[in-house]
Point group: D2
Chain length 346, copies 4
């Protein structure tokens, strides 16, 4: 941690500040510059309250050199975290488990929202046949308008669990509030949506659970804030986390959000957690999903989460961004070629 002192501060005042800081357990080096003094703090600076230092009337600027996250930091955990999920049914030709992280490129596919048993089973069978490893589907839906369809709720969860049993695909679905947690017992991975990325009470509760978490980046969250959100869950004891880039807010409107693909290699460098991409919500446009999915492999993502609907024009939600099963199948064929180049298995 670096502390730049304001020009003109007396040496006595600075010495008092140094003493205060050293009493917290860090060592302080003072460098006399041409116009001001700069303090370098060494040791475990996580004990220092940045805000209090910034509020000090002697201080001009405070700069942290170390990252504020520990458990999520690749420096302290160099090896990739790999999550493993048991498949719903084990048959002769089915895999007993699927993974996210490491050499896998994992595809999560399914409808934006669960609408009926027929819909879900037909989509599940189709995406499984095309090579998806997970089934997604929303039961509780975060909608901008209180007058929009809010999801099937518990009934949607039931249908997902049934679809899992029939298809064998592990299921991923979004949890919107702590009290819903008990309904998610048979869900394989719990999604935390972009709007809840900094719902800290929810994150703490998920830290106490043993479920894998799919943590989506908030619409205006920095990379560090995303990692600090993961740190909240990890601080509670749960390290089964997959990070997801799903588009950030920008000034143009030709896509719904800006898919910030550079965050993928940046995250892979900073953290050992797997990183996937959601091209459906990022663009809001089905015709763009294949291009952005291929790009996700190119930048080193560990997977994608994609919306597939049997009848997008009659979807109760987000039809504009859903692929048909046929379009999804074409995409998977293309993705396999990309994965091969990158030494990944789908």
């Amino acid at each position: 941690m670096i502390i730049a002192i304001k020009p003109g501060v007396s040496r006595d005042e600075i010495n008092k500040l140094i003493t205060d800081l050293e009493n917290l357990g860090v060592k302080v080096d003072a460098s006399q510059g041409s116009s001001q003094i700069v303090l370098g703090l060494v040791g475990d600076t996580t004990v220092i309250n940045d805000e209090a230092v910034r509020a000090n009337h002697l201080v001009e600027r405070v700069i942290r050199v170390q990252e504020p996250y520990k458990r999520a930091n690749r420096i302290f955990h160099p090896l990739d975290t790999v999550l493993e999920f048991k498949c719903g049914k084990e048959t002769a030709n089915a895999a007993a488990s699927v993974k996210i992280g490491g050499p896998s490129f994992s595809v999560i596919a399914g409808p934006c929202s669960v609408e009926s048993r027929e819909q879900l089973v037909s989509v599940a069978e189709a995406v499984k046949k095309s090579g998806a490893a997970f089934l997604r589907g929303g039961a509780f839906k975060p909608r901008t308008s209180p007058y929009s369809f809010q999801g099937m709720g518990c009934e949607g969860i039931d249908l997902l669990v049934k679809a899992k049993k029939e298809s064998g695909l592990p299921v991923v679905t979004e949890l919107m509030e702590i009290s819903q947690l008990e309904l998610f017992e048979d869900v394989d991975m719990i999604q935390v949506g972009a709007r809840n990325m900094q719902n800290f009470n929810l994150l703490k509760e998920l830290g106490r659970s043993k479920k894998p978490i799919l943590l989506k980046r908030g619409m205006a969250s920095t990379m560090t804030e995303l990692l600090m959100a993961a740190e909240y869950i990890m601080a509670g004891g749960n390290s089964q986390i997959v990070l997801c880039e799903r588009g950030i807010r920008g000034f143009d409107n030709f896509t719904r959000n800006i898919l910030d693909l550079a965050v993928v290699p940046a995250l892979k460098k900073k953290t050992h957690l797997p990183v996937i991409v959601d091209p459906s919500h990022a663009t809001g446009l089905a015709w763009m999903v294949p291009a952005m999915s291929k790009a996700a492999i190119a930048v080193g993502a560990d997977g994608i989460i994609v919306e597939v609907h049997n009848d997008p024009e009659h979807a109760l939600c987000d039809g504009e961004q859903s692929l048909t099963p046929e379009q999804f199948d074409n995409l998977m064929n293309k993705l396999r070629k990309y994965a091969e180049i990158e030494g990944k298995t789908i």
Copy 2:
């Protein structure tokens, strides 16, 4: 609602779409343009699912002319909503109640977080003497890092309620999760923080409560999204809402956020709900708070919410942005002059 049809679509296909739309209860006018047909929908278009229309393969673009919010819309409720709060104690020289909205300019002041009884009472007395109408203080604190001070919790609420009894000032404090609601019985106004603006389950629950709500704009939320968040609460039956601009995310870093003051007159035009400004969180810099507070009156805000701390350099949180009681008193003297010009009473 306007629907632009893609060029080259056959008249038969368009007629079928028109029939489908009219079956939903709206009237459709088709205009033949030079290169494409445009449909104009009249009647109650809230029955139309925009997303389904956008997903239709004949459709190029969908444009809503009407605002998606109703209860928050000034068109349907032209008169200003005014909230009234009973003061904690009624003495000879104390007001029996204070208001937000209408001709009042209401100042909410207090520490970022409740730290002790002494701190809170001393700040409460000071800000009251200077003319604040409400006491603020955080008991549950949303912090980016799990390792930062998370607030005093229930004990903080107790201290706020005691400070209310002693000072007479109604109190405002942030609720972070539904299960905390029962602790807020004696709190006068419940704050929903920027990170929870689209925590839709929380909004629905608050819609069922009878408490006034201070709803802060999310860091990357549009004006319409803020109004839709208010609409969630109002749809549940609670219209006691104060909106708050607290800075949005931007590309520069000389302030913590960008205080978007133009949203104040824009909101006052669109909605009947009161609108206040938080210059402390927006800038993150105490020395900028007076300038931005004065600007808040200038643009027509109904009040401000300001951080005041007896000892900012030792604050457990956000000291850099807190005014001292003396600075706050100077600010209030200046604000009274501004309020006078604008015909507002502090």
Copy 3:
């Protein structure tokens, strides 16, 4: 063009407005909605001054359905524009020309700034051997600080032209001001930098030239503004334009800018002009360039422009984002595999 009239306007006033508009040569359909009247204008609405209509006191909102660009619009020119460049020397094993657009994936490589003959020739030979089709290098450099190295100027142009003769690679370099144009006679493609994208006088002048133009998207420019900048050049008679996405400004700082890869498929749909990507300036980080270059092919770009420097640590400019010739060679080997999948030739 759609014009929503304010609620409560009298039919007489509306009729007068309709007459005024029809006198400009368009046909106007009026639809009576539940709360307001909406006018649909058909015909050549480019004769209408949007701003004057918006300023009209009867008007609430004006919505354009048609795109404001014509010459750049794929609707009016469905076939891809392909640019062809003569190579500097024709030898037995060298191509006589290279192309941008159509089935080619064109790689433009070279140092950020021209520093010396040795540097330029050695980089040119290296990138040519690895498969680059063009040599880039800055002679006039737009620098944030007046105290930074501003480029070698005319001498830099001379060195580029010499390097072109020796290597055979057509050269691309940035022009910063109209008066420099005469120096660019032997330059093959003139780059307009992001900061000059809306230097309209420069664009008009380039419209009168016959040189191919590499037009970079401004840091906060919308897709439509980029296309309107191209339209400025095309309106002057020059259609030899290559568009370039080079990163837009965002709220985080782990990369210099946000590479908005989704703009590539969006542009390819809207315009017939070729679109390339600049991963070096977008990220500012050499180690990220390979990932983002591969993603550029994945999303359908027609090429990339990449910084390569023989000694990045001693580069006079932007060393942090330059690849070494070895790193560039590895990247090209990878790109060829990606190009093969997409049916493109490098």
Copy 4:
């Protein structure tokens, strides 16, 4: 300047880097932290090329403590810069000169574009009567579309100079390209538009001129970039600069841009140059101009530049954001009260 070395670098390598840096004339202090070494550079660090240091393979992060601008920096020039302009005619009741900076609050008013002699003279007389100190009007107009009205050009300049002679008001108008400079001899202040803020050749040329410059902040420019643009002009010898905040690009669209009023006190702290605000272009909405103008005084601006048009509905450009002379007169009456509180004279 602070340089954080990557973890694990050998002491020998670091010593070599220190020697290289000290050879450039700075002193280097090395602090051994818990996981890495941090170098503190003292002395005139402007000789160091940040980019080369960042590109060094030993370096993890480079942090500048000092601001990169000097001539614009208030540290080196503590007193406010005040610009003085001779008025066009000296009559008994007219001021001989007007100022920007110091205790003045200066109002620049006039039409977006010069359209005719009658228009300009009538607006000039009106705004003068209401208390404006300067006349503005565009002769060369930067327009997004090549098909929009581009301004009257030289003829517009002539009309401005005539209006100056008749009204006595000094005139401000925008220059778009270096070659136009000779036409601006009788113009009192040359405006550099937001799109040209980083047109470095233009800035250098203006540095050689003796004319006062009104420098508008670019739409996505940081405060530091604005000050570096001023530094370009000052480095050439011209310190007669007025900075102008005119709105930055954001994610919402209820106003054309976001008026970043906090940049005003931030700039006033960092630089001695006057700072004004353009509420017309920032919001794009005439009805919002009064609110934002008052806020400009509240935050400490030295003036505003406002569009006034005798007939906004028939303006050739930007009518939607222009005040009528009557609205402007009402605004000025309000502004005088605000100015009085702030101890400023209009």
